[in-house]
Symmetry: C2
DNA sequence: CTGTTAGCGCATTCAC
DNA sequence: GTGAATGCGCTAACAG
């Protein structure tokens, strides 16, 4: 059985037909006699034939594999994202080639190049920080569609799918206001970034829509990190009129806010919401008293894959950079009241 | 630029050498003149040449790709596992082909078949429930090494890497005893399974080693589920001499134990430890007052990959089923005392 | 419906 | 050091 790989020729000889006939059987072609078809199938099983995709790909110069690269597989968000992609990819008879970059730009270049060499017919990528438009030149030059997810890359002539920051913050404020709050802070983030601007304007627009006066002192910028969150909440709590709720810039900030509140002996009565886009799942499990406002990762993955497949099948790749945004959903993890966290944890 | 894919011939013509020379350059062969080498490299960049691995694989009938299939990518444990595999796979100049089965045996057969057709040179798999030894027949028949991780498949003539259940429970008991406990329960699990037996004996052996009398009433079996955990802790708490600590059969049971304790108003003073093997990460983040006893997923992934590569490189695949076990490590997530959970959560 | 004839792009002998 | 052949396993055109 182990004497050199068994090929179509072998099974053709065994059955007494030609290789092309076998090939047609393999492709489930309808132009082959049912009798010979079953004989071929039998031989395939008996001889332990395995299809050689390298050869097939070489011949048809197309591969039915789509590449998926994420910047941090360790983060559940991206794992879910990949699962979502997989769902539609698999139902379209493609196979997913999943790779992790661990936020390393060099590693990303390697895996992307490798995928390119393997002849993927499309790429979905959540780019590592530092990715440039030029990194996709090879693909756009060859008409291979690329869709960016989660993060955008300015200048790249590919489609991208990011979350709707403005609508997210907006929804967060609406949610907190719905709980009766009127002094809602906006915590964390560097004001000079595009994301900050989007999220902040969502916050502000929601306030004005709801008729809640905007108070600049309730906007406390900080590094978008856990430490930044601690700092932000501490500054906010120094105000004469303290906030009773907060929208956090992201999940890292939310962690920090959480820490800060605890070190103040869990100052009760402060609800807060997090607009999380990356690590939100982790935040949800580790920080019980949290309302997360985030995109459904699997859903985003599905949408990305659909977008990609549409381009693959139509042969039309997006010539211009187009970005779609996906609506965020408000999920109240375990209760809104921070002081109740403990009880709610039981779920 | 898009007029039919550019091949080695094109760049050979452009430089004025032969295709073989180009091929040698691509393989970084030392038998090529430095001058022509750089000229070739330049042409490669200018013409936008991309290496065609399908062709190369076909020619050399080997692929430098190793397959990794996990049964639940959504579970951080497996994501970490994959990352660990990736680390060593990548440093060995292989590429990882990662797939998720979502615990579906059919899906698993599909992805495994697909990988087989793509000519992977080795497979690491955390098998879905229901996997049979026959599922790997195609690989063992062709001398392609397979290593099972996390779960074993009885009868499969491949190597496997599972955690050391006995040592795990043993360490858990040692840990709890080190905190001063002597009435340590063993909660959850069906006594008629192999895993139960291993974990239970670890528990029992540790007690005897430590000179703690074994009390059968402290062993409370149940379904290895969350509901089972609730049931187990409730039964244990009916004892005249209540336990002051517990080793849980697995993470699901631990969740249930947690639930049960909360519904009893957080009966303070009960430490507990979980021997977790699959979902332990989730347990760790969501159940703060927990000592987890688990394998380091990345480390396990690295070991698995090393094991596989060793077999690939030596050409010797394990003929017999051999299982290696990996030592569990005790990690005290956030503190041991249940009543202190809240404070410790701040980390 | 089935067989025949050509390559797909590359790596590997061998000569030169 | 470099160039000319040859075939990996398969599929796409054509013939029959």
């Amino acid at each position: 059985m182990a004497k050199g790989r068994v090929t179509v020729v072998d099974i053709a000889n065994a059955v007494g037909v030609s290789k092309s006939t076998v090939s047609l059987v393999l492709q489930a072609s309808p132009l082959v006699n049912e009798a010979t078809r079953t004989k071929v199938m039998a031989a395939i099983r008996d001889l332990g034939y395995v299809y050689n995709r390298s050869a097939a790909n070489l011949r048809q110069s197309t591969s039915k594999i789509i590449g998926m690269v994420v910047n941090d597989l360790t983060n559940s968000f991206f794992a879910e994202l990949a699962v979502g992609v997989d769902m539609v990819v698999q139902s379209a008879e493609y196979v997913q080639f999943l790779a992790n970059t661990g936020e390393s730009i060099d590693r990303q270049r390697e895996v992307v190049a490798s995928m390119r060499e393997h002849g993927i017919s499309g790429l979905i990528i959540s780019p590592a920080r530092g990715t440039e438009a030029a990194d996709f030149k090879s693909f756009v030059g060859s008409g291979i569609p690329v869709v960016l997810v989660v993060r955008n890359v300015p200048g790249a002539k590919v489609s991208s799918l990011v979350s709707d920051n403005h609508a997210g913050s907006f929804a967060g404020v609406e949610h907190l206001a719905g709980l009766g709050h009127t002094r809602i802070a906006f915590l964390g983030g560097f004001p000079d970034t595009a994301v900050f601007s989007e999220r902040f304007h969502g916050y502000r627009d929601a306030l004005s829509r709801l008729g809640i006066p905007f108070d600049e002192s309730l906007v406390v910028g900080s590094a978008p990190s856990r430490a930044g969150g601690v700092e932000a909440i501490e500054r906010a709590m120094l105000l004469a009129e303290k906030p009773t709720a907060a929208v956090c810039f992201n999940d890292a900030v939310a962690f920090g806010v959480c820490d800060g509140l605890r070190s103040r002996r869990m100052e009760p009565g402060l609800d807060f919401a997090v607009v999380g886009f990356d690590d939100v799942i982790e935040a949800k499990t580790a920080v019980p008293a949290l309302t997360t406002i985030s995109v459904d990762p699997q859903g985003m993955g599905r949408r990305a894959a659909q977008l990609l497949l549409k381009q693959i099948n139509s042969g039309k790749v997006e010539a211009e950079s187009i970005v779609s945004s996906v609506r965020l959903v408000v999920r109240q993890s375990c209760g809104a009241q921070f002081g109740k966290a403990e009880r709610r944890m039981a779920q």
